[in-house]
Structures are given as structure tokens and as C-alpha cells.
């Protein structure tokens, strides 16, 4: 058996990031009126959507990355040799 086959999958991390991601999305949708009101004003509130985007991309990006790993969808091991 090759060592890559026994590599542990990041199930725990995926679940944790998934829960945080769902929480963030729930908050965004539950508090959408307040959020839209602030972001819609523009000006100094312009930082809000940018920070939100960075935060979501970090949490949800980590979750989706781990999701594919756990599903067994990973990069080719030796790309050059793939015909």
C-alpha cells in the first residue's frame, strides 16, 4: 500500500469550517436588512463588503477545499506522466 493512501482526510476541519460557513451565511441572510442599509450607504461603509468578502472567502474557501479532499477529488500526483 502506498503512503498516500493512508493520508488522513481533514474531516474534522471540514465540519468545523462548514459549521462556521453556514453560520456566517445564516447571519448574512437573517440580518440582511441591517446589512443592506449600511452597505447601501457607501462612503466609509465601502470597507464592509470588502471585509465580508475576505472573511467568507477564507472560511468557505477552506471548507470547499477540504470538502473536495474528503470526497477524494484531489490533484493529480504526477501531472507530467498523465497521458
Amino acid at each position: 500500500m502506498s503512503h498516500s493512501n493512508v493520508k488522513r482526510k481533514p474531516v474534522g476541519k471540514m465540519v468545523l469550517m462548514g459549521v462556521i460557513s453556514v453560520t456566517l451565511y445564516a447571519l448574512l441572510l437573517l440580518k440582511q436588512d441591517v446589512i443592506n442599509e449600511y452597505i447601501g450607504q457607501g462612503g466609509m461603509y465601502a470597507f464592509l463588503p470588502i471585509i465580508t468578502a475576505f472573511l467568507f472567502s477564507f472560511v468557505h474557501g477552506t471548507f470547499t477545499g477540504d470538502f473536495w479532499t474528503v470526497m477524494g477529488v484531489e490533484a493529480a500526483k504526477k501531472k507530467k506522466e498523465v497521458k
Binding site: 448574512l28 465601502a46 463588503p49 465580508t52 468578502a53 468557505h60 490533484a75 500526483k77
Partner: protein
Amino acid sequence: MHDIAQVASNFINLDIMTISYLFFVGFVGGLVSGFIGSGGAFVLTPAMMSLGVPGLVAVASNMCHKFPKALIGSIKRAKYGQVDVKMGIVLGISAEAGVLYGAHIQESIKKSFGEAGSNLYVSVAFVVILAIVGGFVLYDAWKTYKSGNTNEEEKVTKLALWVQSINIPGTMVYFKCLNAKISVLFTIPLGFATGMLAATIAVGGFIGVPAMIYVLGAPSLLASATELVIAFVMGLGGSFKFALHGLVDIRLAMIILAGSLFGIQLGAIGTTYVKPFMIKVVMGTIMVIVLFSRGLMVPVYLSELGLIQTLSEGTVKIMKNTSFGIMITALLLGAFIVLRAMWQGKKAEQLATQEAYEHGKI
């Protein structure tokens, strides 16, 4: 400012169907972007507008999902050694200038010729650029396929060799993806054109990626990955500009991002399984199909401007729906080619591993 505030207050109501629709389009768009470095945006903006989102809010929200998506995609592809960060930043900065200039041109056209004039300009730009660049990319991919050299390293074009041979003191920069020094006097106009196209048709990568391949001499895989850095730089600047006017609907942007982050990771993984010319196949195919989608809209705008006979309301509706349908088809076909190529690559790898294992046992 009052108008802007009015637009900003025009955020649509979201229901489960709308959320699912945006998530799905985001996923497919992300899948294609992860693979070819761009794409998806040309469908997302009209997709949002079809839900009743005002045009400017759709453009702003699309941009606000684009930069975090590009960030995650570029980090993923950097892990595979496919990203030239320096090239991405250098091109990205000049692309930012191109975005501002492109937006300025758009505003001037809108002021002089109205909404239909602006739409006509966008559609003509789509058709002309996609016909020339998309046709060339697809022809090049076809040539590689016919020659049977799909596994060989890509050849640097004569134009790129010439660009790399020019030495202009004080402007030379080494780029990892070219393994050569080139003058930034070549990269600046290319970045600028990428930005201008992004401001016009929302997909700068349709210029950026082919420019890096054919004009600068970057391999397809590296060019498409580096495009994600350019998209990040452009998207971040553009999103902030729109956010200053309160035009970003963060809910739409984040819902699309939810789908597109699943897609972009998958698209990025896909690049490790395919032969480099597949990047050109997917990009060229999408570009050529989208060309027909936009081409179909040209008579509609010409009619609105009174330059040809007025088209009936029914005809306009059919043409608009067909145009949107063709665009969705282009994206789905692109996603299908990516998934198929990835599936075949994975199967080939499994087979090779199995054979090597069996061989080892004997």
C-alpha cells in the same frame, strides 16, 4: 448621489429558488474560472439582471464575488506551481487603469447614445474581439490536436520570442512564467487592454490569457492561473469603487461565491489532470459560442437606435431569450469539457498507478 442611493435601495428579495439559481450559476462559473482563469462573469451579470437586479448593482455584485473567488483559485493553483504572482500584479495594476478608462468610455457612450448605444458598443466589442481572439485560440488548439503533439511542451510563438528578445534598459523585468526578462512596456498595454475588456464585457481574461500565451510566451496552464491574480487585483479595486457608491448587494455576491468556491477548487484540481491544450479548447469554445449569443443582440440594439427597421416586441423577446440561452449553453459546455477531461485524466492516472503496482509485484 440621490440616484445612486435609489439604486442601492433597490436590492431584490431573495427566496430559495433565487438562492439556488445563483448558487448553481456561481458553481458552473467558478468551475470554468478555476480552469481557464476567467469566464462565468458574462453569464452572472445578465443572470442577476434577469432576476430584476439593476444593471449597476449586478455588475458591482458580480465584481465583489469575483475577487475573493480569484483569490482562492489563485492560492489553490499556486500550490500546483502554476501562478506567477509578479506577472499577475504587474498586469493587474495596468488592468486596473484599463478598467477605469473602459468604464469612462462606457459612461461617455451612454451619455451620447443612451442605453441602446451602450449595449450596442458592448455587443460589437464582444463579437469583434471574440471572433478574432476566440477563433485564433480555437484554431491553435485544433492545430495542436491534429498534429498529435498534445503531450509535448507548448512552443513559444515567434511574436513572443521577438518580445522576449527586445531589450529596453530600465524597463526589463524577469518573469518566472516566461523564464525570461521582458520590458514592462509590453506588459502595460496588455494589462490595460485586459482591464478595458473587463470593464466592457466583464471578462478581461479573454484578452489577458491569450495575450500571456501568444504575445509574452507563457505556457497555457501558467497563463490561466496567473489570470486569477489579475482578476483579484482588478476585482478588489473595482469592488471598492462600486462599494463607495453603495452599489454592492453583498447577499448576491456571497451566495454566488458560495457556489463558485466549490467550482473554482474543482476547476483548479482539473488543470492538474489535463493536457495544456485543453485550456485553449475550453476557452476558445466558450468564446466562439458567446460570440453568437452577443451577435444575435446586435440587430436588437440597432433597431432600438433606429438604424434598421424596428423589430416587433415578440421578435426582440425571442432574440433576447435565445441569446441568454446560448450564453448559458456556452458555460455549461465549458463546464462539461472540464469535467470530462478531468474524469479521463483521473482514470488514466488510476490505470497507470495500477499498472505500475502490478508490474512492481511481478
